[in-house]
Every structure is written in structure tokens, then in C-alpha cells.
């Protein structure tokens, strides 16, 4: 296929890239009422990556539903994706809670609750906050706040720290805004599980059996997808879909290794540089 010669240092040298880490919301699809809508070309793009024998993992901060339900939704939209390929904060935080003997008060979306079924939530000694969306009522926020204020050692764990994301009906506040609200109210600092925590990216890399310089991250959040991945030693590409805004290309601190219109274009460029 004939294509314009594109500057794509993030694919070079030829043969370096062996795996791809994909963000989901804003890259594969846009969430919203009725399950959401795939972004043009993304279903095909994932297939093409796998057909080219590249390792593919999905790194998402999605916390409104369990991984199982979430993946089922994407499969229904036509995506070739399985639960094992998805890295999301809930399973990661359950591990952290177990390791540290923490019993959480959950300020999360109802749909995420089942991920914590095996976790002791009695007599909470910490608060876990996720993308609770409409469950971020004043009452629920106040409850979490009062619990933190009542702890001798208040621990707030946030599932990601994103500022906002795009749904089909517009931009919406993400968990980060609510994390900041509780930090300010209690005068504490939250711990973040999920993007952009290095641990989170590295666990996906480890699962692929690849080094950071063998993997490219593709995301729509210039700071937490692109910046976060770069900080782990990966090359990272910004798509112009999802929460992308033109000012992202002049971000004061993060310069993506590439800016592409969408996942489909990123994959086309990548596949041209494979052999």
C-alpha cells in the first residue's frame, strides 16, 4: 500500500517494537449511554495489531464496571479483547489492600463493587475512591470525608487521577477531581493505583515479557497516558480522539513521541515500520 512517508521515530529502528499498550476510553471507543460507540477504525486496528503478531495489552483506568462486564461490552462492539489482556486499577488495588491489611470504605461506582467481594470492608481503615460518576453525591463524598477525618492515620487510595474524560454526551469530571477534593478537605495526599503510576504500566509490560523500549503506548490523555508511559521508558503516541484537545500538542511538560489522528492511523504507521 502506498502511503505518505511519515516521520515515525517512535517505530524505529525497524523491528524494535514488539508490543503495544492501548488505552481504551478515547482510543478504542467513546463511552456513553447505551454502551458507547467504537471510534472509527479501532476495531480493525486491534485485529491488525494481533495479525501482525505484536503483543497487545489494554491499560485502562476505567472503574465504573468490573473487568468482566467491561470487556463483554467491548466484545459486543466487535473488539477482539479478553479479560486477561486488560489491566485496570480494581484488581491492582485489591492486591495492595491485601498486602497492607487495609479494609476499605469504597467511594466507587455501584458497578465496580463486585471487584471487592473478597475484600473485608468492615471497620474501614482507609478510603478507596474510583470513578463513581453519579455516585459522587454530596452525601457519599461527606461520608468518605468523615471516615478519613476519624482515622488516626487517614489513607486515601485513588484509582487513577485523571482530570476528565469524554463521553458521547460531553466532557465529564474524572476521579482525579474528587481525589483532589478529599485531599484538600482532609489535608492529606492520596496514593494512586492505576495510570500513571509506574507500577501499573510495568505490570502490563511484565505480563507481556517485554522491556519498556520494546513497547509503544497509545492514549488520549497527554499527561497520564503519554507522559506516564514515557516516564517508564516507553515511547508514547497521542491520538486526536477522545479527550484530546488541540492545546495538548503544546503541553508545557509533555511532548508525545507522535501525534496521530486515531488508533487506525497509528497502527498503519507502525505496521509499515515492522519489517
Amino acid at each position: 500500500a502506498c502511503s505518505v512517508l511519515v516521520m515515525a521515530e517512535w517505530c524505529e529502528p525497524v523491528g524494535r517494537v514488539k508490543g503495544v499498550l492501548l488505552d481504551i476510553c478515547g482510543v478504542l471507543y467513546e463511552s456513553g449511554d447505551g454502551g458507547g460507540v467504537p471510534i472509527v477504525g479501532s476495531v480493525e486496528a486491534v485485529k491488525r495489531l494481533k495479525e501482525a503478531n505484536l503483543k497487545v495489552r489494554f491499560c485502562t483506568n476505567e472503574t465504573q464496571a468490573t473487568r468482566e462486564k467491561f470487556v463483554k461490552k467491548l466484545q459486543n462492539l466487535g473488539f477482539d479483547i479478553t479479560v486477561d489482556e486488560v489491566f485496570s486499577p480494581a484488581p491492582a488495588v485489591c492486591q495492595v489492600l491485601k498486602e497492607r491489611g487495609l479494609r476499605p470504605h469504597l467511594l466507587v461506582h455501584d458497578g465496580l463493587q463486585p471487584e471487592f467481594n473478597k475484600i473485608d470492608q468492615s471497620n474501614p481503615n482507609c478510603v478507596v475512591v474510583g470513578d463513581a460518576a453519579e455516585y459522587f453525591t454530596y452525601k457519599n463524598m461527606n461520608e468518605a470525608f468523615q471516615i478519613l477525618m476519624g482515622l488516626e492515620k487517614p489513607i486515601l487510595i485513588s484509582l487513577g487521577r485523571g482530570r476528565y474524560y469524554k463521553e458521547t454526551d460531553g466532557m465529564k469530571l474524572d476521579v482525579g477531581a474528587y481525589m483532589k477534593a478529599l485531599e484538600y478537605a482532609c489535608d492529606i495526599e492520596a496514593e494512586v493505583v492505576g495510570k500513571p503510576a509506574a507500577m501499573f504500566f510495568l505490570s502490563a509490560l511484565s505480563d507481556m515479557g517485554l522491556e519498556p523500549d520494546q513497547v509503544v503506548m497509545i492514549g488520549d490523555d497527554i499527561v497520564y497516558d503519554v507522559g506516564g508511559a514515557q516516564q517508564c521508558g516507553m515511547k508514547a503516541v497521542q491520538v486526536r480522539t477522545g479527550k484530546y484537545r488541540p492545546c495538548d500538542e503544546q503541553h508545557p511538560t509533555v511532548k508525545a513521541d507522535g501525534y496521530v489522528n486515531n488508533l487506525a492511523q497509528a497502527v498503519t504507521i507502525l505496521l509499515e515500520h515492522l519489517h
Binding site: A133, E134, Y135, F136, T137, Y138, M141, N142, F145, Q146, M149, R163, Y164, G170, M171, K172, L173, D174, G176, A177, Y178, K180, A181, L182, E183, Y184, A185, D187
Partner: protein, 259 residues
């Protein structure tokens, strides 16, 4: 000590200084009368976000304070003045009881966001609405950024946390109009037409009343009523010009030492 100009104005905090809930501080009414017999201008300043001027005025009247409604300057007044000055059309996230102070303001097709203590508006949908406006360029005006306030059944989130969340999400800094912002005190004095060096503030909150006033160039008198806690006077730098038992003692000091 630098030379000070003559005293022209006294700013007086309300809750905790003149009264505690529905009880006047003992002797406060007489003290106010004495102050009025001197040549200083008097203004009552407060950070309320839930009560409109009329409600405050009626409460003070009931407690037999000699006060005029237009002598009351609140953080809501400060916000209203700013909105008028800049001709903003605000999305008002303020308590229903405070809306009266924004009467006459055009709120159609909002191009600014004003946030006060308004638990009924701190829900996901309304905050998203505010967020989108700010992301599109609307300025964010905060009545004040209190972290929490005391209720009968415990602590409750104030507007501060939600304003902080909006600031983080939009990468925009809020313009805070209430105490202890310098602009609040300067705006309160503007209508009297005097300089901060010609004014003194009397209040029970070492940070918001005394600290704020002194940062603006005024002298601050800390009273040991209301939210005052032991050793509060050591918590602000510079220390309060004076710390005394209550409002009547503060007035006596002014009358005998500062005029």
C-alpha cells in the same frame, strides 16, 4: 512602629464576635452604641455563603443591635460586586437562601461560575456543568474555600474541596472573594473611602479575620469569643495588634487608645 494615619473605620465580624448563634455577646449592643458616638465609620463583614444580607440584618435587629442593612458587607456582596463590575453572567452554585443577594443579575447563557456553600449543587451533574463552562473559558469565582464546617452531627464538606477539584480538572485558579483575601477587605473599605492604614478589624478568627486584615494593611484585634481557641494569637504572623476578651473590650481600647 510606623506612623499610622488617624482611625477612620472599624470593620466588625458578625458570628462569633457580636453574637454566638442567636445570643448576643454580653454588652456588645452597648459597646456598638459607644463606638457609633465616635467619628469612625462602621461596617459589618462576614464570610457567610448561605445567608443573604436581609437575613443577617434581621437577626442582628432581633438582638437589639443598632445596625443598618447597607452597613453589612458579605463575601456574597463581594462576589456580586465582582460579577457586576465584569458584567459576568454567572452559573450560581449558591444556596437558595443566598440567591436574593444576586437579584437582578443576568444568569442566562452563563459565562462565569460562582461557587459558595451549596451542598445541593455539589452533585455530579451540576459540577460537570460548571466544569464544562470553566474548561471553555469561564472564570471561576469562589465565595471562599473553607474545607469544612461544623454541623450538629459532625463535620461537613465546605465549598473548598469542590472548588479545588474544579481547579485541578480545568487547570484554572479560582478567584476567591471572601476573607482572608486582601481584595475582600479592600472592597469593604472602598465604599467607606478610606485606606487600610486608617482602619481596624475586630474578629474571632485569627486567620480569616485578623491575619487577612493585617495582610491588607489594617490592624487586627482578636477577640476571645466564638471560634477563638487558646493560643490562637500565636498562630498569625505578625501577631494581632491586640488580643482581648470580647467585643466590648475591643471597643474600649479603640475609644481610649486609637482616636
Amino acid at each position: 512602629m510606623s506612623t499610622r494615619r488617624i482611625l477612620k473605620a472599624v470593620l466588625i465580624d458578625l458570628s462569633g464576635t457580636l453574637h454566638i448563634d442567636d445570643t448576643a455577646v454580653s454588652g456588645a449592643q452597648e459597646a456598638l452604641q459607644k463606638l457609633r458616638s465616635s467619628p469612625v465609620a462602621v461596617k459589618f463583614v462576614t464570610n457567610t455563603t448561605k445567608e443573604c444580607k436581609r437575613t443577617l440584618f434581621e437577626r442582628l435587629q432581633k438582638l437589639s443591635f443598632d445596625i443598618h442593612e447597607d452597613e453589612i458587607f458579605t463575601s456574597l456582596t463581594a462576589a456580586r460586586n465582582l460579577v457586576d463590575q465584569k458584567q459576568f453572567r454567572p452559573l450560581l452554585l449558591v444556596d437558595n437562601s443566598a440567591l436574593e443577594d444576586f437579584e437582578g443579575v443576568d444568569t442566562t447563557d452563563p459565562n462565569a461560575v460562582v461557587v459558595g456553600l451549596a451542598p445541593e449543587h455539589f452533585n455530579y451533574d451540576t459540577l460537570n456543568k460548571a466544569f464544562r463552562l470553566i474548561l471553555d473559558g469561564a472564570p471561576l469565582i469562589a465565595i471562599h474555600k473553607a474545607r469544612y464546617y461544623k454541623k450538629v452531627d459532625g463535620l461537613s464538606l465546605g465549598p473548598g474541596p469542590f472548588i479545588t477539584g474544579l481547579e485541578y480538572a480545568t487547570d484554572v485558579k479560582a478567584t476567591v472573594v471572601g476573607k482572608p483575601e486582601k481584595s475582600f477587605f479592600l472592597e469593604a473599605l472602598r465604599s467607606i473611602g478610606c485606606q487600610p492604614e486608617e482602619a481596624v478589624m475586630i474578629g474571632d478568627d485569627v486567620r480569616d479575620d485578623v491575619g487577612g486584615a493585617q495582610s491588607a494593611g489594617m490592624l487586627g484585634i482578636l477577640v476571645k469569643t466564638g471560634k477563638y481557641r487558646l493560643a490562637d494569637e500565636g498562630k498569625t504572623n505578625p501577631a494581632p495588634y491586640l488580643t482581648c476578651d470580647a467585643f466590648p473590650q475591643a471597643v474600649d481600647h479603640i475609644l481610649y487608645n486609637m482616636l
